[in-house]
Each structure stands twice: as C-alpha cells, then as structure tokens.
Symmetry: C2
Subunit: 341 residues, 2 copies
C-alpha cells in the first residue's frame, strides 16, 4: 500500500443528480486495490449512497460541502458563489495542496475549467489550458484537442496544444514519438486560416519530439490517421458534437432498420451478439473522459450524461495518467520543443 | 416545349475521368422531357460517351474545348490558364449570357468558385458567395452553409448566409418561413465567437422573413433541428467532413459486424432488404449537390467522387432551384431583411 493513489471526487456534479458517481468509483476500485478517495459533497447524500458499497466506504473520506455548482451555472456565477465553499472548488484545491493525486468531476465543464485554472494555474510557458478528448477510431482511439476550453486562438496556442496532446499520447498509448496532425479544411498547404498555416510552418520545420504529419481533414479523424489531432476549441467542439450527432442519427436508422420487417427482426435475433459489439463501439461511454491539459495538476472531466461504466472509464484514464507522470512529461517536453514563432 | 430548361454541363470535371456525367444526365432526362443541354469539353470524348445515349444526344449540343481544369489545380492556376478557354469557364459564361439557365460541374471546387465569382459576380449587397450543402437528417434534409467557400468571416456575412440559405429553403422545401439556426458550441447566449454573438443579436432582434431559432450545436444538425443551419466556411467544412467520416467509420463497423459469426451472416441475409434501405440512407450520393449561393446565376457543384445517380440528383436540385426562380427570391429577400449592424 506504499503507492496508494488518492483521488479527489466531486460527488455532486453531473446530470440525474450524479447518482452514477459512487457506483462508478466502486467499479474501478474492484480492479485497483491501491486507490483511496476524498469525496466532496453533501455528507448525508454521499453516506446514503455509500451504504451499499462497504468496500468503497472503507477506502473513502467524506469532506462535507454545503454549496453545489449547478450544471447550467455560468462560470462567473460559479466562481462568485462557489469559490472556497463548493465541493468542486475544494476537490481541485486538494490536488494543489498535494492531498490528492488528481481530481475527477462530471459537473459543469465551464465552471470546472474556470476553477481549475484559478487554483492550479497553467504550467510555465503554456498560455492556455485545453480539453482533450479520446476519439474512438476503427483501430483504437485518437486524442483530439482542444474541444472547447478556449475560444479564438493563435499559432502559439496550437503549438502548445501539440506539446500537451503529444505528451498525453506518450503516456496513454505508450509510444515514444506519437504522430500528430493539424485539423484543417484541406490537406494542401495553401488552405486554412492564417494562424493554422503559421503553426503548420513551425511544426513542419521544428525539431519535435512527436512526428508531425501535416494537415488532416475531418473525415479522417475516425480512421486513426494520427495519434493526436490538434485544433482550436471552436472547431474541435463542432467536430466532436457533429460526430456524436451523426453516430446517434445512424443508431436511430439502425434501430428502425432492425424493427422493420419480420425478416429483419429474425435476422437481428440471430445476429444479436454482433450487434451488441457494434453498440459497444458506438457507445460514447466506453471512452468517456475529457482531460484538462496544461494545468499544474490532472483534472478529469467525465461527461455529465453518463452511467457508472462511463464514470469508471473516466476514472481509469486519470489513474493511467497519474501513474505515468503526465505533468512531469509535459514540463519536460516543453523544454524539448522548438517554439520559435 | 415552350419552357425548355437549358443546362450548361462541365463534362470534364470530376474524379475517374467524370465518366458518370453523361449517364447522370440521361437518368434525369428520362424523367424530364423539357430539358436540353450544352455539353462543354473534349468533343471526341463526349461524342464517344454519348454513343449509347441517343435520346440524350438529340437533346444536347457539344461545345468543344481544349483546356481542362484538373481536380488539384490551385484556383489561381486554373484562372490563369483556363480563363476563356476551359470548358468550366465557358459553361459558366453561358449562364451569364443567358444561353443556359444554370451550370453544373463535378470539377475542382475552388476553381469553379473562383471562376463563377469572376464571371457571374455576387448579387448586389451580398459580400461573398457561399456553398450550401443538403445535409441528410432523420426526417428529411437541412441546408447547411457555408461549407467552405470562404475562410474567415464577420457578422455581416453570417446575415448574408442566412438570407441565402433561407431563400433556398423556401424554394426546395416549399415553406414560406423556414426555421434557421446559427451553429455554435453551446446554446447559451454567452458562448461562441464575438462575430457569431453579434450576428445572433441582429437575427434575434431583426424582422426576418425566416424564423430564427438561436444557436444550435453540431449534434442536432442530423436530427432536423432547423431548415437552415448557418456557419462560417471553416466550421461548416469541418462539420461536414467529420459527419461524412463518422458515417464511413460506422459503415465499416457494420460491415465487420455482419461478416462476423455464421449467425450474423444468416441474420444479414434475412434482413438484407432493410440493410439496403439503411445503406441508401447513409449514401452521401442520394443527396449529392452543393449549391453556390449569392451569385447572379445558379451554379450546382456535384461531388467529384460520385456516380451517375449522384450526378443526376445534383442536376435535379438545379432544375428545382431554377423552376422556383431562386435568384429572384434572393434579390427580393435581401430587400425584406433587416441588416442593421
């Protein structure tokens, strides 16, 4: 038990009253006996939810908080009212104060990012933090960032995101020199916005610790074209949401198809097992977890609309990144990377 | 035959030597006997391809051109070398000179847009043209624009795109007051880029001929949230390409699923007819055709990678828009719309 990992958990953030949090922690704990938890939130609610999870209760300490950030609070409102007193704030603070190794929340993304930036601060030489998503591909997954932490961008931030994303790829894909592409609307060098073209020139000519492959278009993300796809927060968010919507749309078509004729119903029954595999692949929860990158501490953001399997998967991601010392890697990689503008 | 519609066709533009063009024209002609064609391109090639299509040959006039724009020519290169002499250029010119009612090409998008803008010019009070796509949804289709004609944007252009897209919706969906949304990364009013927020204020407070519904996120496009979704060319292109890529990715999963166990193969055989319907829905060709909006003439851009069914579908779209006098509607709607900045 020498290397016990301590996780700070925001127990009140998430849709449907975040009832998936406790069962999600339990699921991961059953496969990792070197974990312990700091549970932030309403003590009576947490205790009630823990009553069916004795093993988890024994590995947890509850820190009672009165104030809870709502899913639709504006970040400014959340900071004004939740600073120092909310479970979300205190959970992040415990990482800064080395009482926890990382923090996980399924709560309000904007509030979490605003608080995390205030408390943990950005890593030296990184201008702005980013949110990285794990994008499912036909042969694994790809890291896509930024998916919405920042609005507006310049070449410098795209280079920062490249360092952050490639460092994360080193830790979770276990590759020394991950491949990396810049999202653009054409693969030819002439296309795209000025700042993207400028970042392209820097990456192309730089002596990077990752392997820069140039521009990539949106249709290749899902085919595992690169380990890391770098984009600005606006485009990244549009791409992610559109992909989610398209998957949901096709799921609906598929359901209608299989509920069509009697023959298709029989066909579906026969192929049921294969369709379960397909559904698993299309389920966003199997790769749940955005990661805030660029801060002095690991912050895992689970989807608000998830279940205990998705929350557990996000937690696993945090454990992985803590174990492989992500923050040290980033700091080291910043020194290694050419950033001449 | 009083209202014969004359279509200018770029016969040399498209992947795979554009062999789908002639069969595509024939397919549409069989359902519309009030069509005639001006075929621009290499006379010997076109004549050879027409040899199996007597009816089409009788409705067509070939205009021989020596120079052909390649799919990967830069627009500047295409203009420099193809001005006045290429089939693409001459086809567009025939619309300007009222020798054709609209032009269709599956060729190089950038070159087509550059030439069309030079020859046809933008409609008075419209700053920049846009490319509109028909996006398949669960209950029909949605017009999304701009999907890549312009890079960079301001509030004024987003309002222009709104007028253009809503005018197109009036003609092809046959609704008096189409619904319209602005693509953004959140539905709350606080989010997004400054110029999008400024356009939102104008649209919200304006006395529009369409029904403005506010912001929409990428995951709702495919569910028919609005008749028209307005965005800048960069984001629109990222969204479209990402949706195409996600559909292709899921197609691959589906194929693997159905080729899995013996039971799934038998299941597939039983449900074959339903899967054909599903494939049709996921086939981008069934709704092929981008439309250049904002120019003094109708320009239909077919996908370069298409087949005769897709090209015919793009042609049908052009016929529809010509018959409903799209350009007049746009000119009229510009006068009707508040554009105070």
């Amino acid at each position: 038990m020498a290397n016990l990992i301590k996780v700070a958990v925001d127990c009140m953030g998430g849709d449907d009253d975040a009832t998936f949090v406790i069962p999600g922690l339990d699921k991961t704990l059953r496969n990792n006996n070197d974990l312990s938890f700091l549970l932030f939130g309403d003590e009576s609610i947490i205790e009630k939810r823990l009553s069916n999870y004795k093993y988890l209760a024994n590995s947890s300490e509850i820190i009672h908080t009165e104030y809870h950030i709502k899913m639709d609070d504006k970040p400014s409102h959340a900071i004004k009212n939740g600073k120092r007193v909310s479970g979300m704030w205190k959970a992040i603070e415990s990482v800064r104060d080395n009482r926890a190794d990382f923090v996980i929340s399924a709560g309000n993304t904007g509030a979490l990012m605003a608080m995390a930036t205030l408390i943990l601060k950005t890593i030296s030489k990184i201008q702005r933090p980013a949110i990285a998503a794990l994008w499912p591909t036909v042969d694994g997954e790809t890291i896509v960032l930024d998916i919405g932490a920042t609005i507006g961008f310049d070449r410098r931030q795209l280079i920062d995101f490249s360092i952050l994303g490639a460092s994360m790829a080193q830790t979770i894909f276990d590759v020394e020199s991950p491949t990396l592409s810049l999202l653009n609307i054409g693969e030819e060098e002439i296309k795209g916005l000025d700042e993207i073209k400028a970042a392209h020139e820097i990456l192309k000519n730089g002596n990077n610790f990752f392997k820069y492959k140039g521009f990539v278009e949106g249709n290749k993300i899902g085919f595992g074209y690169s380990d890391v796809i770098v984009t600005d927060g606006f485009s990244g968010n549009i791409a992610l949401k559109t992909a989610e919507g398209t998957a949901a749309q096709i799921s609906q078509y598929l359901k209608e198809t299989l509920n069509g004729s009697m023959l298709s119903k029989i066909g579906y029954l026969l192929a049921r097992q294969s369709f379960q595999t397909l559904r698993d692949k299309m389920n966003p929860n199997t790769l749940n977890g955005g990661v805030f990158l660029g801060l002095n501490g690991i912050v895992i953001k689970s989807h608000g609309k998830t279940d205990h399997v998705g929350f557990s998967s996000a937690l696993d991601l945090g454990i992985d990144m803590h174990k492989s010392a992500l923050i040290d890697k980033i700091v080291n990689n910043i020194e290694l990377t050419e950033r001449e503008l």
